[in-house]
């Protein structure tokens, strides 16, 4: 069994501990020896996305020092994993263990489908679900084919969830439009960000989704904030919270 370093992004650690726990439980039940290195904080994405490389770079270096020793690193977040996989190169290029780290850091769904190769999922989730395909997981990790691409369709999240009994994954009019979170964008461009989010929620609602499910709590936090302010009936859930209740094999 490979050693797995659990990477719990800062905002998940602080605001959504249940998502971290769910991820941990899923991996442990699959028999992995999961470690959570406590020195970890953040991958540096907020700073890097703001163009502040000087502030982000030390975090990338810390990340390598902390996680470089594991066979695999797994995180319940598409955008943080993409940070490691796609945006560390220019800082860490040539550093020992960097290439290994970059190529072996996985978002949970891609880990389960591509590395663990989970084929059977036994569980119930009798709800209508709308998938919120967050952008970095979608277009930088390629968790699914994006709607712009003219290649054979696939979707790793759907692949996992569709096996649950009772689940109905609804079809959205815009299957992968951005929710408008975008990190600092959410406050820098508050008006457009919130309009984008409300439009997403409306699309999910029109399709009958009771639960909006995603793999990035940041996007879901934004949607949830809009939903609660508008006192709408929908809920948001991280995919790990759903899979945690099922048997994976």
């Amino acid at each position: 069994m490979p050693s797995v370093g659990l990477f719990i992004p800062c905002y998940v650690d602080q605001l959504y501990p249940q998502v971290g726990l769910a991820t941990l439980r899923i991996l442990r039940r699959l028999g992995f020896n999961v470690e959570f290195p406590p020195e970890q904080t953040c991958c540096g994405q907020p700073m890097a996305n703001s163009g502040c490389d000087a502030a982000a770079r030390p975090l990338a270096e810390r990340f390598l020092a902390i996680f470089g020793k594991y066979d695999h690193v797994v995180a319940p977040s598409g955008s943080c994993v993409s940070m490691v996989r796609n945006h560390y190169d220019h800082w860490l290029h040539g550093k020992p263990r960097f290439e290994h780290l970059r190529d072996n850091t996985f978002e949970l769904c891609e880990y389960l489908t591509g590395v663990v190769k989970v084929t059977k999922i036994d569980g119930d989730f009798p709800f209508k679900v709308g998938l919120q395909m967050s952008c970095h997981g979608l277009r930088e990790l390629r968790l699914a084919r994006s709607s712009e691409q003219m290649t054979a369709p696939y979707n790793k999240v759907r692949q996992l969830l569709s096996q649950l009994r009772g689940i109905e994954i609804v079809d959205l009019l815009r299957p992968d439009e951005c929710c408008g979170f975008g990190g600092a964008f959410a406050v820098d461009e508050e008006a457009v960000s919130c309009l984008m989010g409300r439009d997403r929620i409306e699309d999910h609602a029109r399709a009958g989704a009771e639960v909006i499910v995603g793999y990035d709590m940041s996007c879901l936090m934004h949607l949830d904030g809009l939903i609660r302010r508008a006192e709408r009936a929908q809920r948001v859930m991280h995919v790990a919270e759903i899979l945690e209740k099922a048997q994976l094999a």
């Binding site: 602080q14 959504y16 953040c42 703001s50 490389d53 951005c178 309009l195 904030g225």
Partner: protein
């Protein structure tokens, strides 16, 4: 100075109109999807287009010389302009030497970039933009709000009102068919009176020494087959090596831009009208500077299809004018700050970095990565607000110290729930204007993991 966010907020404040704008453009995106899906080799085609552009840019000077040689052999006069001022002067000089006082123009983003119209008008030349959308915005004394759909921000009632005043159409009439017919009559008389036609260039072919212009309306053809003088203005990145390359780009251009299999007219000008004169003006205006920047070089491959605008969730909800530059949307947000980093500093931030533009772009420009790279460049140039730079430095400081991070997190989670709502959702809280903050859990994941593992 107001940046994109303020102008976007003003646009988005009219929510129903913003939704209408968003839907109009999304409709074009859907048409694009349908057309792209009809080509099984779509992704290979994008790959080929990107490779041809990369190749061309790797020896642009050679190809420009080849083009010049062949164009000259075709009887075309070739001119070179280092910047907008020189471009405008060249065009004016050609027109003046033919005593032209009435010019018809088809769409050319380059001449918008160079502000050619006001330059010529100040020198006594009447300039008529003949693309319907461009004519509409010209009559409104506005710039285009989109590079392919210049009047996409206007409702038919707005245009009906405009045409009533300017062209004498019936008051209150807003039927697009009726209005288009009125414009046809109006512009046909302009074509009949024009002494010269100016066009943009979609592609210039080194091998043939000719230029290719694509329109749906036929305005470029009217403007170049009636008057004997044709001036074509091109940014020097419009060059492609061979005529066979046209197949690759033409298969992508209209499908990506408007969701058509090809534009109605694809006109190949390899010389002047019999007895006429043809001039091509090749313009640098900052392009050679971009060529020298590896990160941004591929932005020169842009074929101005507009697909990145149509797909951009921010553009659709903020409108073309919120960018304040002649090319809006993702590609404009890279090109504008090349011109003036300080003035356009907000544009690379006017994106959620969703990457839809990158996946839609027919020449595979990594648009969202370039937007991100430009943010870094702007921070390095110190044109990003100090407050933001300090904030990020502070955040970085906290996050690289686990004890400080833990303490701040606990503090936040302990304090937020007990603060009065009025304070939590005070003016400082941009997040909370329309959104609730997440419920603050008592314990963090790292507080809980010990229990979990024991």
């Amino acid at each position: 100075m107001t940046g994109h966010a303020e102008k976007a907020a003003a646009f988005a404040a009219n929510e129903s109109r913003t939704h209408w704008h968003d839907e109009s453009l999304w409709f074009v995106r859907v048409k694009r999807d349908r057309q792209a899906a009809s080509i099984p080799e779509w992704e290979a085609l994008r790959e080929a287009a990107s490779a041809i552009k990369t190749h061309t840019l790797s020896r642009l000077a050679d190809y420009l010389e080849e083009f010049e040689r062949n164009a000259t052999a075709n009887g075309i006069h070739v001119h070179w302009a280092r910047d907008a001022a020189e471009h405008n002067a060249i065009v004016h000089q050609i027109l003046a030497s033919h005593n032209v006082t009435r010019l018809v123009k088809s769409k050319s983003m380059l001449t918008e970039e160079c502000h050619l119209n006001p330059y010529l008008e100040a020198r006594g030349i009447e300039v008529t933009d003949t693309d319907l959308g461009e004519r509409i915005v010209q009559l409104r004394k506005e710039p285009p709000s989109h590079i392919v759909l210049p009047a996409i921000h206007l409702k038919k009632e707005d245009i009906g009102e405009l045409f009533h005043i300017e062209l004498g159409t019936e008051k209150g009439a807003s039927d697009p068919k009726y209005l288009t017919e009125a414009a046809r009559g109006h512009l046909r008389s302009k074509f009949m009176e024009a002494q010269a036609g100016l066009t943009g260039v979609n592609f210039a072919v080194a091998e043939t020494g000719g230029v290719v212009v694509c329109t749906n309306e036929g305005n470029a053809d009217m403007g170049t087959s009636l008057p004997p003088l044709h001036i074509a203005c091109m940014g020097m990145e419009k060059l492609i090596p061979r005529a066979e390359d046209l197949a690759v780009f033409l298969r992508l251009l209209a499908r990506s831009g408007t969701g058509q299999p090809v534009t109605t007219y694809t006109s190949h000008f390899n010389g002047p009208l019999p007895g006429g004169e043809m001039h091509v003006v090749i313009v640098d205006n900052g392009r050679s500077r971009i060529l020298g920047q590896p990160t941004f070089r591929s932005s020169l491959g842009c074929i101005r299809c507009g697909a990145c605008m149509n797909t951009c969730p921010v553009y659709r909800r903020s409108g073309g004018y919120s960018y304040g530059y002649i090319v809006p949307g993702p590609i404009g947000s890279i090109l504008a700050p090349q011109r003036d980093p300080e003035k356009y500093a907000s544009l690379p931030f006017a994106s959620s970095l969703c990457g839809s533009c990158t996946d839609v772009c027919p020449v595979k420009i990594d648009l969202h990565q370039q937007l991100l790279a430009f943010r870094k460049k702007l921070v390095d140039l110190k044109v990003v607000p100090l407050q933001k730079r300090l904030g990020m430095a502070g955040l970085g400081f906290v996050l690289s110290r686990p004890w400080l991070y833990r303490m701040s997190g606990s503090l936040l989670r302990a304090v937020m729930p007990v603060l009065p709502r009025g304070l939590v959702y005070g003016a400082w809280n941009r997040w909370g204007v329309q959104r609730e903050l997440p419920a603050m859990p008592k314990e963090s994941f790292r507080d809980l993991i010990g229990k979990e593992l024991s």
